[in-house]
Subunit: 371 residues, 2 copies
């Protein structure tokens, strides 16, 4: 059971609060990705300092290594990784499809080989619920299948209907506790009627929140917004909505405008390791030679440690030299940028100024396709 | 001109204080290595939190990338890397010999190729002084040659005498300023008379401190201590003594007992990236499978963030998963261990209990050759 409160709504954009066993989450919220029990290149203290109120953990990765039972013996994922705020875990379904070796999908579940060891594993709605319970996730995701894009209507339909049967089994085996909740996942590809069928199936089962899956898989922003335009408003108004695996800042702002409350993406962290920096004037690659003698801070509007204490030239030097500190500082900056964006979004909605904020954002970054 | 004060002496062990332009250094001191303007995998805040009062920077690495003139344009190495405490830079001599490609040594200096780009560079006493001045090093090292071990007496003698001529040229071109100092480097291999000749040559030139070079090059601890036994007491009593590139904790404790005041070594930082942990009960490799389910902290006597908040099992998991956070946490722990050891050494000498400390240390780690 999770408590969700809508504090304000401006058109479709929502400002809310989600109460979990490990604390409050202010929405719209961005969840940094802590794949195997660490947000890559960040300490938990630096994650918290960005304003992040919830992390995402990956069931698939954690079940392979170190193993869900082992994490449970350490007192759950929060204790294991020393993060005392909320954690959402995905169901493992997405990564079984994208990362594992040989796999066989049946009505019962998915048998697959670990991409690390080749060892055989089995995931089903029941086992996924068990694992997420062992990890002590505040928010558990229903076990689903995410089909490739593009896929035939027939394939999408079959897969979505199986995911809905799995959603029901997920609900049945989820151990309901105060402060812990289960989210269902809407599938149906780019087909409006299938999305609506999925939404209705999930609503009938009843969840603590509703995720929109099967997007940001290569369809492009326009198509993604199109799906959100009809999917989000069909979801229960009094429950949080989570767009999985999204995305660039412009994806997030546009999705908030369409009624989404929660996001996760590896983009700020992965970019932080490759030298791609999100700034208030757009995305830059710090490895570019033109930053070699740049004495300015990365982003004058940013208050993160990197922007307060270092020059672009120094950061450039760290990346050119392959120094770990480059990844550490830039990852923190990027996550700080994302969390600061969410904070601006939340304030804008509170003040009924989100529509203006959205327009200004679009104008400002019209020519920067990476934003 | 640097001010060095001896606060206490117990047999050969010395407790002192060295005053530089960027602050006080309490000796015996350990200097973490910040090769190219960063202590690998650490923020400067976490370096400072270990108690480190001075860092070492590498002239060779910094002259190749980003370049000494460039660092000077950024306001010097302190500003470039955001470290406001003292910095000592080596002269480049050692790494020209060990890292660069084709090189040619003449009386004038060394012409060599960058190991990064193949580009040609030239280092001489005059250029080394210029570079270290551009970097704004509080402590500048004289330009010298460090011969391989073992080398013939003839080779060691020739090289040492050239290094002494270079030491004189270093002194002549060093720009003396208040709070900045120049250290000479004793060479002479494992030959007592050559070491003495080198000591006398340096004393005649006159330096702010005296380093002992050409040790920890494969000769073993016993031989190294033998050289220290006759070299250290021959150095001026009122100047700091620095044993370059040393070492393991037992090397350091034994060298303090022989009258050394300053040390630098990549061991705590390099080990921190490979999973080798220094603890109060010895050295362990955290990647070992036996730590997989270990719920204890790495070192119960340690107060670093790793030991306060995480288990050995979690650290093991991070290293097995190749996560950057593993290197970040363990590097900080290892540097913390070294700095804490120096603090214990300083307190022991202050209280005239260093001899006891040394004996207990030797008994405790008699069977751990990595210590």
């Amino acid at each position: 059971m999770l408590e969700f409160k809508l504090l304000n709504q401006e058109n479709q954009a929502r400002r809310g609060q989600l109460k979990t066993a490990h604390g409050l989450i202010n929405t719209p919220a961005f969840m940094p990705v802590g794949t195997v029990g660490t947000v890559k290149a960040m300490t938990v203290e630096s994650v918290a300092s960005t304003g992040a109120e919830i992390l995402l953990g990956n069931t698939y990765h954690l079940m392979l290594r170190p193993g869900a039972e082992r994490v449970a013996n350490f007192g759950g994922l929060h204790k294991f990784m020393n993060w005392d705020k909320p954690i959402l875990t995905d169901s493992g379904g997405f990564q079984v499809m994208s990362l594992s070796g040989l796999r066989k999908i049946t009505e019962e579940g998915v048998k697959f080989q670990s991409h690390l060891s080749g060892e055989s594993f089995f995931l089903s709605p029941e086992r996924s619920m068990e694992i997420q319970n062992l990890l002590d996730a505040d928010i558990t995701m229903a076990f689903d299948e995410c089909v490739k894009y593009p896929s035939s209507r027939k394939k999408v339909e079959e897969s979505m209907r199986r995911s809905m049967r799995w959603a029901k089994r997920s609900k049945e085996s989820f151990k309901n506790r105060d402060g812990y909740g289960l989210f269902g996942i809407v599938q149906g590809g780019m087909f409006q009627d299938l999305r609506m069928e999925s939404v209705n199936a999930l609503k009938e089962i009843g969840f603590d929140g509703y995720a929109i899956g099967g997007l940001a898989v290569g369809e492009g922003q326009e198509k993604m917004f199109e799906v959100l335009d009809y999917t989000a408003p069909a979801l229960p108004n009094n429950k949080p909505r989570y767009l999985m695996g999204v995305g660039r800042p412009s994806d997030i702002v546009g999705s908030v405008a369409r009624g989404v409350d929660m996001f996760d993406c590896v983009m700020p962290t992965r970019s932080g390791r490759t030298g791609q920096a999100f700034t208030s004037t757009g995305v830059i690659n710090i490895r570019n030679a033109k930053y070699m003698d740049d004495h300015e801070s990365l982003d004058k509007e940013c208050t993160c440690p990197l922007c307060k204490h270092y020059t672009r030239g120094y950061l450039h030097h760290l990346f050119r030299s392959g120094e770990i500190l480059g990844a550490m500082l830039l990852t923190q900056h990027n996550v700080h940028f994302y969390e600061n964006l969410m904070q601006q979004i939340r304030v804008a909605i509170e003040q009924n100024k989100f529509e203006t904020f959205y327009q200004e954002f679009q104008e400002k970054f019209a020519h920067d396709r990476k934003m």
